[in-house]
């Protein structure tokens, strides 16, 4: 029987591709990233193709996801967040669909890869820092010293603030990756119990049913958390506290 973490293995599909000494072969992870993109693209364009004034169910879903993120950006970033809306919306849909596709049996969860979540988080972190620097110049560095704090606290506060700022991409990526990995590992372990216990496997099967529901919740929740934290960081970059 396979190890509960064997499901996270990257497997090459098709020929191996090497560019500049790096292996960029198409893999199961890549397949699901592309699949997520296609699913989102088809869902959001085809559901809206009717352009119904009174939305159909599927159109309503597309509109709800749009309005959900639009409200999130408006409430957490403000009107300055409008230019970043397509990016944040894409980010949310990508993580959400990635997480949910991972819930389909035999599929692959690319959000359970630390490198994927970290690449997204570090890109967001760098982009947001650049936005803040462009917008505020050197004034940006006052971000690391809360206004109103006594000056003699600076030696303590500034390192803490810098550390907390630098840990943002780590916490952002690890939160998503760890949640997805833990959930899928747990499901695999319980799945193993079901097979191994035979008739008595009904008990872990019941747990597995509950876990599946829970994991769907986690999939949605983690996509939401990742996106809203991005919004909050963006707010900080634009408004500096």
């Amino acid at each position: 029987m396979a190890s509960p973490v064997a499901q996270f293995q990257i497997k090459t599909i098709g020929p191996e591709l090497h560019v500049a000494g790096m292996d960029i072969s198409f893999t199961n992870s890549a397949a699901f990233m592309i699949l997520a993109t296609v699913v989102i693209g088809v869902f959001l364009t085809q559901s809206m193709s009717g352009r119904h004034l009174v939305p159909t169910r599927i159109q309503s879903m597309a509109e709800l996801s749009y309005e959900f993120i639009a409200n999130m950006v408006r409430e957490n970033v403000g009107s300055e967040g409008r230019p970043y809306f397509p990016l944040i919306f894409s980010l949310f849909m990508f993580i959400l669909v990635g997480n949910l596709l991972g819930m389909v049996p035999y599929s692959y969860t690319f959000t359970s890869q630390i490198i994927v979540t970290f690449a997204m988080a570090i890109t967001i972190f760098v982009a947001i820092t650049v936005i803040a620097l462009v917008k505020h110049g050197f004034h940006f560095f006052t971000f690391f010293f809360p206004s109103g704090a006594p000056v003699y606290m600076a030696p303590l506060l500034i390192p803490i603030e810098i550390l907390s700022y630098l840990s943002r991409p780590v916490s952002l990526s690890v939160r998503l990756f760890a949640n997805m990995m833990a959930g899928h590992t747990m499901m695999k372990v319980f799945g193993g119990f079901v097979v191994a216990l035979g008739v008595a496997g009904v008990a872990p099967l019941a747990v597995l049913v509950a876990l599946t529901g829970f994991e769907v919740l986690v999939a949605v929740l983690q996509a939401y958390v990742f996106t809203i934290l991005t919004c909050i960081y963006l707010y900080d970059a634009i408004h500096l506290h």
């Binding site: 029987m1 396979a2 190890s3 509960p4 973490v5 064997a6 996270f8 293995q9 990257i10 090459t12 790096m22 292996d23 072969s25 198409f26 893999t27 992870s29 890549a30 990233m33 592309i34 997520a36 993109t37 989102i40 693209g41 959001l44 364009t45 809206m48 352009r51 004034l53 939305p55 159109q59 597309a62 509109e63 749009y66 309005e67 809306f85 397509p86 894409s90 849909m93 990508f94 690319f110 890869q113 630390i114 490198i115 994927v116 970290f118 690449a119 997204m120 570090i122 630098l166 840990s167 991409p169 780590v170 690890v174 990756f177 760890a178 990995m181 590992t185 193993g192 119990f193 191994a196």
Partner: protein, 202 residues
């Protein structure tokens, strides 16, 4: 610094995961551990370039589809609906305003008609009362006249009766005197005597 903390962290996760895997019963464990070190597949750095590459490819693709097609399309539909709703609300507001004007006009007309009717009724009642009073007064006058005339006639007839009674009495007295005494008393004397008797008796 970030990279340091990440690797440090990954090492920790790797250890934790390895511990977790070790804790899994032997039947669930596997001897098949490809990748580096037999740890978590996520920590196999050889898979990083391909994952980052395909992440970039798919995310850029997604971003283009979202920002060029999907988002404008959804925004269009939502805007159209918003406009339609606002239009409808505006029309409804206008119609309500019109209805209110009509209602006010109607109410005014009703109030006017009512006050007119009230006036008419009052006028009619006044007229009726007037004519009633007039006819009553006329009737009273007529009655009074009739009564007066009747009273006058009665008085006249009474005097007449008294007159005739006087002559009858005189005649009777003359006859009675003549029969009883055989005397012929003059009419003047008898008349005087009758008058005296009548006045005394009266």
């Amino acid at each position: 610094m970030i990279a340091n903390s990440v690797t440090r962290w990954s090492r920790r996760v790797g250890l934790a995961a390895a511990a977790a895997v070790a804790a899994v019963p032997s039947w669930a464990a596997s001897t098949d551990h490809p990748g580096s070190g037999g740890g978590l597949p996520q920590l196999d750095a050889t898979t990083y370039p391909t994952q980052i590459f395909w992440l970039i490819v798919s995310f850029i693709l997604l971003y283009i589809v979202m920002s060029k097609v999907a988002i404008p399309r959804i925004a269009d539909v939502l805007e159209e609906r918003q406009e339609r709703i606002e239009d409808d609300i505006e029309t409804a507001d206008r119609l309500r305003g019109e209805a209110e004007t009509v209602k006010a006009e109607y109410e005014k007309a009703v109030a006017d008609a009512r006050s007119q009717a009230h006036d008419l009724v009052r006028k009619a009642m006044d007229e009726i009362a007037d004519s009633h009073a007039k006819s009553e007064a006329e009737a009273a006058k007529k009655t009074a006249e009739t009564t007066k005339a009747a009273e006058a006639r009665i008085a006249e007839q009474r005097t007449q009766a008294l007159e005739s009674l006087k002559s009858v009495a005189s005649e009777a007295a003359a006859e009675a005197t003549a029969k009883l005494t055989g005397l012929k008393v003059s009419d003047a004397k008898i008349g005087k005597a009758v008058e005296a008797a009548m006045q005394g008796g009266a």
